[in-house]
């Protein structure tokens, strides 16, 4: 008896001691420094770009959703699009034209070889499009939602579109091209793992094992003189601590206190976090009272976006305006007649006026409708998207101050996705906008995507319908006149600004982390030539710009 008592006392003392030690430890911060692997040479990049979860599978079919990241640097698109602002760079197509809104002509380079020595031909391009038509599961960019037929003529590939469809150019241009002489024999391309990829890109597959693989410079690459990287190593498991300590040359990750972690780990560590989209409140427009624009305006005017942006993104991101544009990336499209660049600032009096328009008045600290009930709704966001969750909590507390009661719903990501697709929400947090202004407005406003709540849609989750927006979007598709297209974009901004189908909160970030001790020439705010993400095709644009730091410069 005495013994167990003593044991218990011992145990309690030990636990208290340990807890104290833990508190002390967390108080005095232990500086963790970067420890690069000395066996990695100066001509080799270590990239945190591919997650194995928990090990790699050998899949280099560039059309599958969980292909190895590097497969998109082994295969190349016709046009390399910068998702930041929609800039189109000639790639496997040296030039293109749109003789009318139903036809696109791409001229294919004639100096490009596959890494097995065969020549890239326009027939490869035509074959690729046919492959995507025959295997809809591979058509991830949706080329055949636009295409009618594809034919070749000399070095040209002529694409005939289903309708007047001028803005389909970047979608078709982003299709990655595969070699006919190898892929023609593939029995089931939909499940083909393409273990030994042969592409036109700057890299070929090097060593592969299920913990790490590498790609090596393709010596016969058509821009070989622009590629100064000899090897790239991609490990399978990357925790946030690894990102900081392992000596990566390039990583893509949201990091808390980037200056004190990534920045402190090495003097060569730099970062650039440009805005990549708009994070917005998406009201379900079929749910009362969100069908009333005055309620939406009241909510928009009640919010302090500075605080939301600060809280959600730790101050990395700016508040977003109400135009649907991502600024400053898309500044050239901005309608100058919209005040403050579309920014709506908090104005409680104006908010209460707008709510009053809709029949809601303050009763003590509650905003009540004509029936005497408080204005309240559920705000849905995805569990684990921590910045969205913090934004939702801030919206909740800010709206409480004008008497609106918000409850939060946090389903798992799949549940969240299913809820917004099916209209099973009152208000949700969602992303909108991207580099291609037409795609952004079309996804947001087009009634093509409209289905009533209860049925699934892929876009326009808020279920907006307007003849005016539809007419503008249609006109945009039918014109190849870029001046008119620019006017239409300004008119669409006006709709988003006035009608508030969604309420912009802050910009979603692109989290580019670089180390310039071995390679320089990374994209920056001053030279935003490419989005700083290390997945998809974007790195092709960056690899061709990076230069090795010469030994004597160091």
């Amino acid at each position: 008896m005495a013994k167990t008592h003593m044991l218990r006392r011992w145990r309690r003392a030990a636990i208290v001691g340990l807890a104290a030690a833990a508190v002390v430890l967390s108080g005095c911060s232990i500086q963790i420094s970067s420890q690069p692997d000395p066996s990695i040479g100066d001509d080799t990049m270590l990239i945190n770009a591919d997650k194995g979860n928990p090990f790699f599978t050998r899949n280099f079919n560039p059309y599958l959703t969980n292909t190895r990241t590097a497969s998109r640097w082994i295969y190349e698109p016709l046009i390399l699009v910068n998702p930041l602002d929609g800039t189109q760079n000639p790639w496997l197509a040296s030039e293109w034209s749109q003789p009318d809104a139903r036809t696109i002509v791409m001229t294919i380079r004639d100096d490009v070889e596959w890494s097995d020595g065969e020549k890239l031909t326009p027939d490869d391009v035509a074959f690729t499009f046919q492959l995507l038509k025959d295997n809809p599961s591979l058509d991830i960019k949706g080329a055949w939602q636009h295409l009618e037929t594809v034919e070749t003529d000399g070095n040209d590939v002529i694409m005939h579109l289903q309708t007047d469809d001028a803005p389909s150019l970047p979608i078709l241009g982003q299709t990655m091209i595969v070699p006919e002489h190898l892929w023609a024999d593939v029995k089931d391309p939909g499940t083909y793992r393409n273990e030994n990829p042969v592409g036109t890109g700057p890299f070929v597959l090097g060593n592969y094992n299920d913990q790490q693989y590498s790609v090596d410079k393709n010596p016969d690459y058509w821009q070989a003189d622009k590629i100064e990287i000899e090897h790239i190593i991609l490990p399978s498991t990357n925790s946030q601590l690894d990102t900081v300590t392992r000596g990566y040359d390039w990583a893509y990750s949201f990091i808390s206190d980037v200056e004190g972690t990534w920045g402190a780990a090495s003097e060569h560590n730099a970062w650039w976090f440009p805005p990549g989209g708009v994070i917005a409140l998406m009201p379900n427009l079929e749910v009362a009272p969100f069908d009333d624009v005055n309620v939406r305006r009241g909510i928009a005017l009640s919010l302090d976006r500075e605080e939301i942006a600060e809280t959600a993104s730790e101050g990395y991101m700016q508040p977003a305006g109400q135009t649907g544009l991502v600024l400053p990336n898309q500044e050239e499209y901005l309608d100058p007649s919209i005040p403050d660049g579309g920014m709506i600032t908090q104005d409680t009096d104006a908010a209460l006026d707008a709510f009053a328009e809709a029949g809601y008045t303050l009763d003590g600290d509650r905003l009540v409708g004509p029936d005497g009930k408080q204005l309240e709704f559920a705000l849905t966001t995805a569990n684990g998207f921590s910045d969205w969750t913090r934004a939702a909590q801030t919206v909740q507390s800010q709206l409480a101050k004008v008497g609106v009661k918000v409850t939060l719903k946090l389903p798992q990501p799949a549940g969240y996705q299913s809820a917004i697709s099916n209209g099973d929400f009152e208000m949700a947090i969602g992303g909108m906008g991207n580099g291609d202004v037409y795609q952004a407005y079309n996804n947001l406003l087009s009634s093509e995507f409209y289905v009533p709540s209860g049925e699934a849609t892929a876009n326009n989750f808020e279920r907006y319908r307007s003849d005016e927006a539809d007419a503008l979007l249609k006109e945009y598709r039918e014109t190849v006149d870029t001046a008119r297209q620019a006017e239409i974009v300004q008119e669409l901004q006006g709709i988003v600004y006035d009608e508030m189908p969604v309420i912009g909160l802050y910009y979603g970030g692109i989290w580019g982390l670089f180390n310039d001790s071995k390679f320089t020439g990374w994209p920056t705010e001053d030279d935003p030539y490419m989005i700083p993400q290390n997945y998809d095709s974007a790195p092709l644009g960056i690899f061709t710009r990076l230069e090795r730091v010469k030994e004597d410069d160091r």
Partner: protein
């Protein structure tokens, strides 16, 4: 014989219940696998309807009534065909499992056996020398260490020995630069990567074995036959091992059987913390990605191995202790 048949019947019934639960549970989660994939993509920007269509075509949305799916599923289970993984599409579930299983069995399996052997030996010694430092030290530290959540121990070890002192690698099962194969270099590397997770599991599970063995042993030491053996002037070690420990080990053996059955499930959090490519980490990712085929195969493997272990322990007990057969 009747005893064995009863146990077999119970085994089959439990297995069927497990298989059935295994089928329905993942389907109660909201959203489809395609939704999970799209939600992941949409964090990086809006996902076009074309991409959604392609993803749904790749992953295949379950078709047919739930009953048809269930019947098809039972057929698959009988053939041990678990289809294609969603999150690792187009890899088959069986290839994923066979890649991960050796790591888990190698790490968790070996460490579980080690912990059992070491813990039981220490427990025996502690009971034999009860009241001395040989008793209090292992008993106290053991019970102390086993009170920590094991992922916390894992994080502490990882932080100090991996990131601060750089003694051990922080992630993975082997260095990316070594080529897997039957070479000495690879083996050393494998062991280096396994040390921190192994120590974590050892530290947190040792206490249970020590205390279980110690307490059971103290009970047997008070029994008449031990006193009788002592009176006969038998050597102390003989009494401790052949008389007392042999009887005291029974409850620990039961626990060992069950723990061994659970090895297949791995130590999810330990594997997660150390990025160890075993079954536990695979299961974690399968659940996050709503990868039904992979989840079902893994849950089933875990259930079956626990059931089999349970069954064997039952049978063994029936043999060792005639009282249980009644």
């Amino acid at each position: 014989m009747k005893y064995v048949l009863q146990k077999v019947g119970l085994f089959v019934l439990t297995l069927w219940a497990a298989v059935t639960l295994n089928f329905f549970l993942p389907r109660l989660m909201p959203g489809s696998p395609a939704d999970a994939a799209i939600a992941k993509l949409s964090q990086n920007g809006p996902v076009s309807d074309a991409t959604r269509a392609a993803i749904e075509a790749q992953l295949g949305v379950p078709t047919g009534s739930i009953w048809d799916q269930y019947v098809a599923y039972l057929g698959q289970v009988a053939r041990l065909d678990f289809g294609v993984s969603y999150t690792f599409y187009p890899q088959t579930v069986s290839s994923m499992v066979s890649t991960a299983l050796p790591y888990t069995i190698g790490l968790v399996g070996i460490v579980t056996i080690l912990a059992f052997v070491i813990g039981t030996l220490i427990g025996t010694a502690a009971a034999w020398r009860r009241g001395t430092w040989l008793d209090s030290l292992p008993t106290l530290t053991g019970s102390f260490l086993s009170t920590f959540p094991y992922f916390w121990t894992a994080l502490l070890l990882l932080f100090f020995f991996g990131y601060v002192l750089h003694w051990f690698p922080t992630t993975g099962a082997y260095s990316a630069t070594t080529t897997p194969g039957f070479t000495w270099d690879f083996f050393i590397d494998l062991v280096q990567h396994a040390i921190l997770p192994a120590v974590t599991i050892l530290l947190t599970s040792l206490g249970g074995w020590i205390i279980g063995m110690r307490n059971a042993m103290i009970n047997t030491l008070g029994d008449d036959y031990v006193t009788f053996a002592e009176a006969n002037g038998l050597h102390g070690r003989t009494i401790a091992l052949r008389y007392a420990a042999r009887n005291a080990i029974l409850p620990n053996l039961t626990g060992f059987g069950l723990t061994l059955g659970g090895v297949v499930g791995g130590s999810i959090l330990v594997e997660q913390v150390f990025g160890y490519p075993g079954i536990g980490y695979l299961l974690f990712n399968a659940v996050i990605g709503q990868d039904y085929p992979l989840m079902q195969a893994l849950f089933l493997m875990i259930t079956v191995s626990v059931l089999v272990a349970n069954f064997l322990v039952d049978i063994l007990y029936g043999v060792l202790d005639p009282r249980t057969r009644r």
